[in-house]
């Protein structure tokens, strides 16, 4: 077990990563577990496709749908922000207002200590968070999928090398590694998602590798090979579609994790640099102002919490819907 386990974090920067959470949280949509598992197997409905089935199950999961709705809402708000936020509120970097105003009709979230509209900054901060989250996970996915599939499919020396490299990555405490990496790359918006992306690949690679290893044993893979299918074809047509469910679940949760990491790095001053609004950066500025101006602390934190929570709930819902068993 020792080789194949991981910790969500080095230190206290916990990112919601699936595999550790060994199948908990099936509050909404799993057959009930009973003390005596004596429920006869029931095939009530004709089975649909895997994805159709998954969607059916996901739709019944109220929490996952709430998460999906909230994410969609945030994306719409932040993507359309240029059309309505500056006109009605302010440019996110504009310092034209009196500082530290309490929330009002003009400034629904108040103003910060150099007279910027907090609402506008929170809305534009979502861009940074979502973009970093998605881009970072994309990088992890690209690297992780490539290395994980090669490693899982071919095994042998390549597998050993990739997995030992992953071990090295896991040996570093996560936050420390991210900070050190950013110290080398220099703190900036771009480098933040690069750093988070680079740190994320080993988990993806492991998840994919282990699901490939289990899928690979199936007879249809042997059958395809016997029929002379190429490695690439076997990988793409036969293995990937069956190994991809854990990746989807994991990727969804990782976006939440990346958003928290970005916030933490920006909070520590190693992330997105001023004047670009970011939720973590805003919290960093609010540090000493919690009593005179609580709105500076409340709103960015609330934004991080709800967004990350949405991804976590989505991930949980997907896991249950796709019936992914995540453990090591």
């Amino acid at each position: 077990m020792s080789a194949d386990r991981q910790h969500p974090d080095g230190g206290d920067l916990h990112t919601p990563r699936g595999p550790l959470d060994a199948g908990g949280h099936e509050l909404q949509d799993q057959p009930p577990r009973t003390l005596v598992p004596a429920v006869p197997e029931v095939t009530a409905h004709p089975s649909r496709t895997l994805w159709g089935d998954a969607w059916m199950r996901l739709r019944k999961n109220k929490l996952a749908i709430a998460g999906l709705t909230w994410i969609t809402f945030i994306i719409i708000v932040t993507v359309s922000a240029d059309l309505w936020v500056p006109q009605n509120f302010a440019e996110p970097t504009s310092t034209e207002f009196a500082s530290m105003q309490a929330p009002s009709a003009d400034h629904p979230f108040g103003t910060d200590r150099i007279g910027r509209d907090v609402f506008s900054r929170v809305v534009y901060g979502a861009r940074v968070s979502l973009a970093v989250g998605i881009l970072a996970v994309s990088i992890s996915l690209v690297i992780g999928l490539a290395l994980g599939s090669l490693s899982g499919y071919y095994g042998g020396l390549l597998d050993a090398f990739v997995m030992r490299t992953a071990d090295i990555f896991f040996a570093f405490p996560y936050t420390l590694f991210a900070i050190a990496l950013l110290a080398v790359l220099g703190p900036s918006y771009r480098n933040v998602f690069i750093a988070i992306g680079i740190l994320g690949w080993p988990s993806i690679a492991r998840v994919l590798r282990s699901s490939i290893l289990s899928v690979k044993e199936n007879e249809y893979v042997d059958a395809a090979r016997a029929m002379g299918a190429s490695d690439l074809r076997i990988m793409l047509r036969h293995i990937m579609p069956n190994a991809i469910a854990p990746i989807i679940v994991y990727g969804t949760m990782s976006i939440g994790g990346a958003i928290i990491t970005e916030a933490a790095l920006s909070y520590l001053g190693m992330g997105v640099q001023p004047p670009t609004p970011s939720w973590g950066g805003m919290l960093s500025e609010a540090k000493a102002l919690m009593i005179p101006a609580p709105w500076l602390t409340v709103w960015p934190g609330f934004a991080i919490l709800t967004t990350v929570l949405s991804f976590v709930l989505m991930g949980d819902g997907l896991r249950d819907a796709l019936d992914v068993k995540m453990k090591d």
């Binding site: 910790h7 230190g11 090295i168």
Partner: protein
């Protein structure tokens, strides 16, 4: 058993070398901003003679592999170099910080164990009850809360807002750093540090309990006439605890390596914050020495976890099944 431990230690070696190699790569001139010699000299005037002297002292004039050799042998001898910013050796600085980090880590682990296990068990035993919903939802929320934000809120509320009522029972940590340290000051940071892991412990505990309670041996125990309480708290719990204990152990390792965010929010003079501050000040010897030490600590604690895992789980202790 001994063989197992030995094999685990052997496995650690390439990882450790990989870690040091990465860290060493960061020292190669040009990779990091700033001239290493200038960094070492600080604000003193850099004469060519001084430069030569420093290159000599720090083996900067040697070839890269030789430098790596010096670097590794230094680490093995416990020599991590001197801080560029402080007039102290890296070893001294880290030795200062480690007890604080350890104190915080241990108390956070206690919080995890007490609250996490309890919540997970209640949630599993009373599946689908009100408490299950509460636990499940609050663990989801807890894993989504940025710890630094949680720390800020706790600090604000317990440390300042209601200090009149609590009589300063939740004083902020800094002032507790006397000798002997005041335990009260551990409360807020350890809750903050433990928050996410507690949620994980509760979730793992819950799912492991549910899984254990679905096992055949539970039915056997029930058929024996044992009460549900004995079945749940003896037969199911002992099985469910194994992965949880492993998680807690690994977490302890990670926490021992310093908790940058919590330590920053609470200005807790621990290893994580020290390394973070060193990064901010480009105090590379402290960063590298610190990271090496932290990695070693993490690996060592993980080794202990593996060993204790083997002790806990007879299936590992006595090798695989006989079939």
């Amino acid at each position: 058993m001994l063989k197992y431990v030995f094999r685990r230690i052997l496995q650690m070696i390439p990882v450790f070398l990989g870690v040091t190699l990465i860290l060493f790569a960061l020292r190669i001139p040009g990779l990091l901003p700033g001239d290493p010699v200038q960094l070492i000299v600080g604000e003193r005037e850099l004469t060519p003679a001084l430069r030569a002297q420093i290159e000599e002292e720090h083996h900067l004039n040697e070839s890269v592999p030789v430098q790596y050799g010096y670097y590794i042998s230094g680490i093995l001898q416990g020599d991590l170099g001197r801080s560029l910013q402080k007039n102290r050796t890296v070893t001294d600085i880290l030795l200062d910080k480690f007890p604080n980090t350890a104190r915080l880590a241990v108390s956070a682990i206690l919080v995890e164990i007490i609250i996490g296990l309890l919540a997970g068990i209640i949630s599993a035993v009373k599946q689908y009850s009100f408490w299950d919903v509460v636990v499940t939802l609050s663990t989801s929320i807890l894993v989504s809360v940025p710890v630094f934000w949680l720390g800020m809120l706790l600090q604000m509320f317990f440390g300042i807002k209601i200090k009149q009522w609590t009589g300063g029972a939740f004083s902020l940590p800094m002032s507790g750093m006397g000798s002997p340290p005041d335990l009260v000051h551990l409360i807020l940071p350890s809750i903050t540090l433990a928050s996410v892991s507690t949620a994980y412990v509760a979730r793992i505990m819950r799912s492991q309990m549910l899984e254990a309670m679905g096992q055949d041996y539970i039915r056997t125990a029930m058929a024996k006439g044992l009460s549900e309480r004995v079945v749940v708290f003896k037969h199911a719990l002992k099985n469910a605890l194994i992965p949880v204990v492993t998680f807690i152990g690994i977490d302890l390792g990670a926490l021992m390596g310093g908790a940058i965010l919590t330590e920053s929010v609470f200005s807790w003079p621990g290893v994580g914050r020290e390394i973070y501050l060193a990064v901010m000040q480009r105090d590379w010897p402290v960063v590298m020495g610190g990271v090496v030490v932290v990695v070693l600590i993490v690996m060592f604690v993980n080794l202990l976890v593996d060993i204790s895992y083997a002790v806990l789980d007879p299936r590992i202790r006595y090798g695989g099944t006989t079939e």
